[in-house]
């Protein structure tokens, strides 16, 4: 596998009594879009702040591009871009000036800076709003400005901490597409979110975290394979006899059958032709049925099975 960009080992971070990170481990490779998926308060932001040497931590080690990150590792910092959870722009400066300001903290050459700023504006599609002050921008546009300020200096490693919170669907899609594009241009991306769909959509690898612990790491498929459930088939049935339910339980790969509120729910742990088999069985037994749904597991199911609770709060 390719080189590691970030290695976090046994990281422990306490806020007074509260243990925010509990022997947390990560190994992020070059070229990944790495997703940190976890509910609010699971420690995503804390992880990022520790990696960036903003927070003191109690135990463990962190290396970025093979080096220890310190507050004055300026060389290292120039390769990193961060889009934070909270919008951080100057209300007193226009869209263009804000982006130029933050670009200027990295790049001194005026011509290059102008080019980078223009490219960033184009990237987040804020061309029409260059002269606007942030107060005049909608939430989605403001988020896009926030992103532009974080990535304008073309960093190799980009942290994105919940960049889509409180964003309209249109802006959200634009942001997600943008992240994939940045990745295609060569940036390694660490993306945190509590929206599993987003993470599933764009991330090459995902770590599921809860209460400061890293519960599972892998690609979406790998994560889904980790759990028992592979397919859920739900069938509307008006009436069904107990002995038929017993028959269904005998079918290959079935591990759980429930019948509640005229809905028959069958959970499978694997197998390929589950739907045909069960529908055949129902026909043969003379059970009439209505609509049929077949669902593959989501990351939410993965989370549910690992932690015993829903990802959404």
């Amino acid at each position: 596998m390719s080189e590691s960009v970030i290695v976090v080992e046994n990281l422990v971070k306490r806020y007074k009594e509260l243990i925010a990170l509990d022997h947390f481990n990560l190994d992020i490779k070059k070229g990944e879009i790495f997703g940190l998926l976890g509910p609010n308060g699971s420690g995503k932001t804390t992880t990022i702040n520790c990696i960036l040497a903003l927070l003191k931590f109690d135990k463990g080690s962190i290396s970025v591009f093979g080096e220890e990150m310190k507050p004055d590792s300026y060389e290292l910092k120039s390769k990193i871009g961060v889009v934070m959870q909270n919008v951080a722009v100057f209300d007193e400066l226009t869209v263009y000036e804000n982006i130029d300001y933050f670009c200027g903290l990295y790049i001194s050459d005026k011509k290059l800076r102008k080019q980078y700023v223009e490219e960033a504006i184009e990237f987040v599609d804020l061309g029409e709003f260059k002269k606007f002050y942030p107060k005049k921008l909608s939430g989605g546009l403001l988020r896009r400005l926030n992103i532009a300020c974080g990535i304008v200096h073309k960093p190799e490693l980009i942290f994105m901490d919940e960049p889509t919170v409180a964003v309209d669907p249109q802006s959200r899609n634009k942001i997600l597409e943008g992240i994939v594009e940045l990745n295609k241009m060569g940036a390694t991306i660490i993306y945190t979110s509590h929206y599993m769909e987003e993470v599933e959509q764009i991330c090459t690898r995902i770590a599921i975290m809860d209460k400061g612990k890293n519960l599972a790491i892998g690609t979406t498929d790998e994560l889904k394979k980790m759990i028992k459930r592979n397919e859920t088939i739900s069938i509307e049935v008006l009436e069904i006899a107990e002995n038929i339910i017993s028959l269904i339980k005998e079918l290959p790969h079935v591990y759980e059958v429930t019948y509640e509120e005229k809905m028959l729910k069958v959970l499978y742990s694997g197998g390929k032709h589950n739907l045909i088999r069960i529908l055949d069985l129902l026909k043969n037994e003379g059970v009439s049925f209505g609509r049929v749904y077949s669902e593959r597991p989501t990351l939410n199911d993965v989370f549910l099975e690992i932690t015993g609770k829903e990802l959404r709060d």
């Binding site: 702040n49 903003l54 003191k56 310190k70 951080a88 903290l105």
Partner: protein, 382 residues
């Protein structure tokens, strides 16, 4: 990089209309209020009146010249009022007189040297002080030059009464020795020390645990010191501008006579603002202290410093000078008002230079300490 940060910070500061208002307009409004309030007082207290003093002779030796001089100044000449009304009394009685404000000051003569004790700082006290200084100075010169000269009494008398009439003259014509001006000096010192809060903001904008922008700056590859200095320079430029506006207003519109040239006074305010902002930067960078608490600390420093310099209650500075003079040497408000006073009353450039140098050195120390703390800090929580 520095200029980039400076330029945008300056733009942001001009955009912040509130801040602009406070920095520029507020001191002018206060100055106008002071002026309106005091112009009535000055009218009613104009003219010279005899200054009552108590004199305590601790030793009988070497008092001759002194008492001769005091007696001479107590005589009314050419229809003018006498300069002093002298009471020769014992120490306890003198203290009682001073306490009851029967006399403006008490002079203790010991080993042929008079020392002045006062309880408040005003025009009369300044005048006594000036006469005593002249007396000592002349005595020093004369006794040093011609130790056994018989005529020296004459010379002392002459020098001192010249000084006395000069002072009296000034009081009548110029309004120069005038404690009303103290309030304007107070205003100038306060304007300078208002820099503490703007200095604090420079740090707020750099610290990751204090602002989202601070966080973004902290993770950038720009040196924190450059960012602090860039912001500070912009803040300082604004202070320099508002100082200039205040001085122009005082000198050319209210036509106050502050003594000294515009540039000399302006230099004091520039150094004063520097020390104010430096204090703010140091306080701002104290770890583990909340934003509100820091604002409180800054306000306390500003007010306490002004208080100790006697800007709210005269005389305190002189008490401190007697018991713990070091405070006056390092208290920013005292230094600012001393520098202005040395231009105004004493024309004392050595004192002026001393105050300025102390302020510059203190600013450098405070600023360095603040930057060192803020430069490499990581945080317990964000």
């Amino acid at each position: 990089m520095f200029f980039h940060i400076y330029k945008y910070r300056l733009k942001a500061l001009f955009y912040q209309k509130e801040e602009f208002f406070w920095n520029l307009i507020f001191p002018l409004i206060l100055a106008t209020c002071f002026f309106a309030a005091f112009s009535k007082i000055t009218e009613s207290t104009e003219g010279f009146s005899t200054i009552p003093v108590a004199v305590v002779l601790e030793e009988t030796d070497g008092e001759k010249y002194f008492t001769e001089m005091m007696d001479a100044l107590s005589e009314s000449k050419d229809g003018e009022e006498a300069f002093f009304a002298v009471n020769y009394v014992a120490k306890e009685e003198a203290e009682a007189l001073l306490e009851d404000k029967e006399v403006a000051g008490m002079i203790v003569l010991k080993e042929a040297k008079p020392s002045l004790i006062i309880l408040e700082n005003g025009m009369e006290q300044t005048m006594i002080k000036a006469v005593m200084d002249k007396y000592l100075q002349t005595m020093d010169v004369i006794t040093g030059m011609i130790p056994a000269h018989l005529d020296k009494l004459e010379q002392v008398m002459e020098a001192v009464s010249d000084e006395a009439s000069y002072i009296r003259e000034q009081k009548l014509t110029d309004g120069n020795i005038d404690n009303i001006i103290d309030y304007f000096f107070a205003l100038i010192a306060m304007t300078c020390l208002m820099g503490t809060s703007t200095g604090q903001v420079c740090i707020t904008y750099i610290k990751a645990n204090l602002s989202a922008i601070g966080l973004r700056k902290s993770i950038s590859s720009a040196k924190r010191m450059t960012m602090i200095l860039g912001d500070m320079a912009a803040t300082y430029s604004l202070s320099a501008l508002s100082n200039a506006a205040l001085l122009i207003y005082l000198k050319y519109i209210l036509k106050l006579n502050m003594g000294g040239s515009f540039l000399e006074i302006y230099a004091v305010t520039l150094v004063g603002s520097l020390i104010g902002i430096s204090i703010g930067i140091l306080i701002g960078s104290l770890p583990g202290v909340g934003e509100g608490a820091k604002m409180g600390i800054n306000l306390c420093i500003t007010l306490f410093s002004s208080f100790l310099s006697g800007l709210m209650m005269g005389g305190i500075k002189y008490l401190i000078e007697e018991y713990c003079p070091i405070i006056n040497r390092i208290n920013p408000a005292s230094l600012i008002s001393d520098a202005l006073h040395s231009l105004n009353i004493y024309d004392d450039y050595a004192k002026y230079a001393q105050c300025m140098v102390i302020m510059v050195v203190m600013s450098a120390v405070l600023l360095t300490a603040g930057i060192v703390i803020a430069r490499r800090e990581t945080y317990d929580n964000i």
